[in-house]
Amino acid sequence: MNFICNFPFFSILLSLFSGTICSVLPAKAAKVVNRAVIIAVGLMSAVLLLYLLSTGEPFIYWMGHFPAPWGNEIRAGVLEAGMALFFCMIMYLSMAGGAHKLPGEVVESKHNLYYILVNLLLSSLLALVYTNDMFTAYVFVEINTISACGLIMIRQVGRTIEAAVRYMIMSLLGSGLLLFGLCIMYDLTGHLLMSNIKESVGLIMANGEYQIPLIVSVALMCIGLCIKSALFPFHAWLPDAYGYSTVSSAAILSSLVSKGYIFLLIKIIYRVIGFDIFNNTRIIDVLFVFGLMGMIFGSLSAIKEKDIRRMIAFSSVAQIGYIYMGFGMGTQAGMVASVFHILSHAATKSLLFVAAIGLTDVSGGSRKFIDLTGAAYRNKWAGVAFTAGSLSMVGVPLFSGFISKLLFAQAAVQVEGKMLASLIVLGISTVLNAIYFMKTVLRIYATTDEAAYTGITFRDMKAYAVTLVFFILLNVILGVSSQPVVNMIEQGLAMFA
Amino acid sequence: MFPILLSIFFPIAAGVFLLIRYRTPLSGEKRNTDRKALLLLTGCFLVITAAFAVAALLTGTGKDGFILFNLTKTLPVYFRIDSVGTLFSLLAVIVLPFAGFFSFEYMKHEERESRYYGFYLLAFGVLNGLCFAGNLITFYLFFELLTLSSMPLVMHSGSKEAVMAGLKYLFYSLCGAYAALFGIYFLYRNCDSLTFTAGGALRASAVAEHGGFLLVTAFVMLLGFGVKAGMFPMHAWLPTAHPVAPAPASAVLSSVIVKAGVLATIRVLGMFGTNFLRGTWVQTAWIILTLITVFMGSLLAYREPVLKKRLAYSTVSQLSYILFGLAVMNETSRTGALCHVLAHGFVKAALFLCAGAIIYKTGKTRVGEMRGIGKEMPLTLWCWTIASLGLIGIPPTGGFVSKWYLALGSLKSGLPVFDVLGPVILLLSALLTAGYLLPLTIYGFFPGADYDYGSLQKKEPCKLMIVPILILTILSVLIGLFPDIIASTIDMAITGR
């Protein structure tokens, strides 16, 4: 076995371990360790990705060298490696973008705790991405929840604690359902490894026995993950959680945490249940409908919002709706579009959160639209970045959002019964997106009495500006040369089977 | 060819020249107040134009027609002199210069005289163009231009009523023109060319295919052009426009310009061909409308106290005599109609000029105030009386001849109901005509016993005013004395060339 095959395991372990280390390090050092770990993991994932692309075969890594069905396994394919790499990039950029705000948001003594949580989050995300074992997945889902909760409440204000509690409650409901579904699945198949379960599921479907319990279990898992990833009716916790936590937390939470769950769901669909079997259930129709509703209602809530951070948070609800709509189409193309949208939304939403903080900073810390008037003149970089992010969200060509919209629409056309509904909702949702994002963009470029605030120049925020530039670049790259990425996603999905 | 072009474009150029040369000075410019030069120029231009027009008629160069240029490949601007055109042109050539000379005195106290004369010349040129137009497009072109160039004449005084009346005139005329244009579009499709041809230009196949729709088209066109000729229900602009316009402008408007509507109607009949329309609902409807107008116009005139407005209503009524003659669609009635064009043209011009002279000298506008006017301005009132007799139709004036033919034609036509009803209404209307025209004569010459002769003043207008009136009055009698010449011209008109 090639040495590179150890990388997934290494990266999980490294981030877990560094988390432990950070607890005894001073804040500065913890920060360095954190950054280094993210970069290291990112590099490893990149190497792994190249390796996988060259071999074209996924591999399975036996934890402790017990063979299936007894041992615990890690599995790496193109999609996993790509996701890991992408998560690292976004995480690094989000951390870098929010770094200058940290002292103001978190008590000095808790800085190293913050980095522990981030490291923990990274490790759980990686585990979610790589694991081939359902129960391991469950455990890391919980770890993920705990660390995310910590990230929310690390900023000690009433709102964040309340948000953390709400987030916690919803997450626990979700993970409870997931666990229950998982147990039923275990009961039915007798396995915990994904590949083994899939075989048994195939047999069950072929035999015709125990189909209803199987569907129930699948449904429970799906609902559990939907709750955790804030699909439309379960999104109540989201605006507060994203809206009041620290910048980096908000960026990471919105772009990574929920995406981790969604990725797990994809894995369950492909690796556990089987794509075709899943598509034959009614579940996809339910997902489809809720996805569409999420697209509309999320945007409507965002339009009503008067607080820029909460507005962006509500926009996430809409965007997650897009992803579930892709699932709901029940075709390969729809899935590809969804996966692409995971990437594009992650890149865009974290950009928006980071840019928004730059704007609110120069507006006396207020997040109300009315105070943001003319903010883009005071912080030009943030203004441009926010505009770019908004355009991407609206789906203007050149930015990643356009490609995902294009993929969604193309996928929709191929589905007979759902074509019109999805196309029309896609159109309406774009209009709604345009309304609230462009409202903000125009607001920050509208004139104001500039004497009231002091502007910020490039020299004051080099790191921040560079981060923004990278974010924008990421967006544009996804938007312009999307073909390799799409190819990779297709290849990765093919490897799942 | 050249006399035609000159008769059209020379006055237009001259008009534009006057407008620019004698325009209202800008701030800082010296005001050009040389009134004599302006009058002299205008006079010369009028005479020259008339000369060109007469030359065009006499030399007969235009008989074969020529294309000036093509708007597009299928839309030539085409001129040709035919006998109907000759007739109308004759009227214009006689009335316009005399009314122009009359204005020299009448306009003495008005502001911006140059504008009046400029547009007057423009209208002259356009009228010539209208008479010499050889196809429907060229005709339409000049028809529109006529409206536009005569509108400033109506508005000239610049008072609020005048402006509103001018706009009313404009919008009514345009409304009619556009209705006609609607028909032209369809004629263009269903004819081989838009050139005027005797006996109809419709393709036989088109008639067979959608004859019903073509009838609608014909009716719309007749109504549309009827607006200019003051046909009910679109007559309302006439009584509004005439009282506010300067008297010579009213004279021209009433005697010549409204005849453009008649000419247009003749052209439309020519395009469709009387055979196509005879006996259809279009004819019936048209006759009903004309008869209503004839009677209603007279009645309204009878009840109208303001002199010029009374004359305007009279015009409404008299023009529908002509239209009635055309609507009956046989040769006799047509002769009558064409005769009445000339008769009414001269008479109405004379009447308006008389009215103008009275107003100019005394400032009185209501008939009731003009008691004893015959003692002050005997020559004017004599002319009025003679012209009135012409309009009523007392032999040997022109009016008698035309009405005779009209009645005869109607009786010969064999139309159900209308063959008798028509002449009856014409007679009734003639009675009313006497009723509204002669009171001025009666009260003017016989003011009654209680009239204060002491305050009498000599108010006979100057030669510049009285001579045109005299000439026009004499002409109106002459055409009655020598109807043969007219009739032969008209016969020529009916037979074609």
């Binding site: 609206v394 203007v396 056309v413 | 597009t72 610049g158 005048a162 579009y185 263009y188």
Partner: protein, 487 residues
Amino acid sequence: MIILVILIPFITGILVPAIPFRKRWQKEVFLETTVVLNSILVWYLLLHHSDSTFLLAHFTGNLNISFRVDGMSMVFAGLVSALWPFATLYAFEYMTKEKHENVFFLFYTLTYGVTLGIALAANLLTMYFFYELLTLVTVPLVMHTLTREAVLASRKYLYYSLGGAAFAFLGLIMVIVYGSTTDFIFGGVLDPAKTAGKTNVLLLIYVMAFMGFGVKAAVCPFNSWLPQAGVAPTPVTALLHAVAVVKSGAFAIIRLTYYSFGTDFLKGTWAQDVVMAVVMFTIVYGCSRAVKETHLKRRLAYSTISNLSYILFGAVIMTPLGLVGALTHLVFHAVMKICSFFCAGAVMHQTDRHYIHELNGLGYKMPRVFGIFTISALALMGVPGLAGFISKWNLACAAVESGSPLAWGGIACLLVSALLTAIYMLTIVVRAFFPGKDFDYSTVLDIRDPNWKMLLPLFVFTIFIILFGVYSQPIVDFFMSVAAGAV
């Protein structure tokens, strides 16, 4: 070469704020020269075009950004490049009274490039791309004054345009999926084998895409952004909201109808009836609103709404003749409307008067401007001998020719609209020249015609109005060959 004409304005635009011009005239000369050069380049390109496609970038799948010169592009690119230098010249003078000149000229020049991009796009995706871009680069222009009004207007403009593009996007998807290619090919690219049984869905999407692109062409009920956008400086309103932007909408619809979906597929279907009814309604609606409007520029904007639907009316007749009518009006209306807008702008610049009732008696103080305004008004009404008559004639003849009773109703709409046009345009003229007897001329004492920078474009446009009116044969012939798919 093709990419050059799009890039030059971009570079020029970016250079304007970047170069520290010492004097204003230097900037003017720089801008005018590049714009003129670019226009010359465009015309050279159009006259010496080859059929080759220039591929700029590859998107996903078979989608790419590429450019090509065909008949339609020649019409639109030729029009835009002919008008831009004059508009720029006019803008120099107009902008002396406004702030943030550099930003203005940056986006103004960028827009030139983007509009050319729309004109020269070789496929639907490229056009869509530049179409979106056009919205973005013109928003700053609308917002220019940064007043509350301007911000609201630009917000509305953005919502409408982006929203419209979202639905136009659906059309793009349909063409990608059901077409054999996304390139513009006269007669459409839909693959009959793929579309079998899906006709109604495709038609529905066509209607949506039509309305989507129609937003820019201000089709009712998506027209309200246009009059509001009139808060922008007049060169913008004139060039963009009478020509470049709104015509892009019309252009896009023509592309969609004739070059992507194909008239064979659409003609005689309910979709055609629906869009035609909408367009007919807009024709009358725009005019009626114009009559009611008392603000000069807004009135002209409503007039634009109506006139744009003339173009669309021609387009949705879906015969070659209809396309000829549409193209004629596309070009002629551009000249007429830009002329009348420039007149309005000149009045506003010289007198600061914005409402029609304030124009009393100005005709004698600004005879040149109002004379030209009168001519453009007459042309818009469709008086024979001026440009408007020819285009309306072509439209109406196409409608008659098509034989559909709905189209015949459309002729009636055209004529009603012509009458309304007369009402709203000529009342202005009458006000200017007939202010009423008791008018106090001392209130307009110091007003005079603007200087040559403003007048020159006006005169040139007037000459074109008359020229097109009396001698339009070559250009109409050219449109004929475009409409026959020959160029």
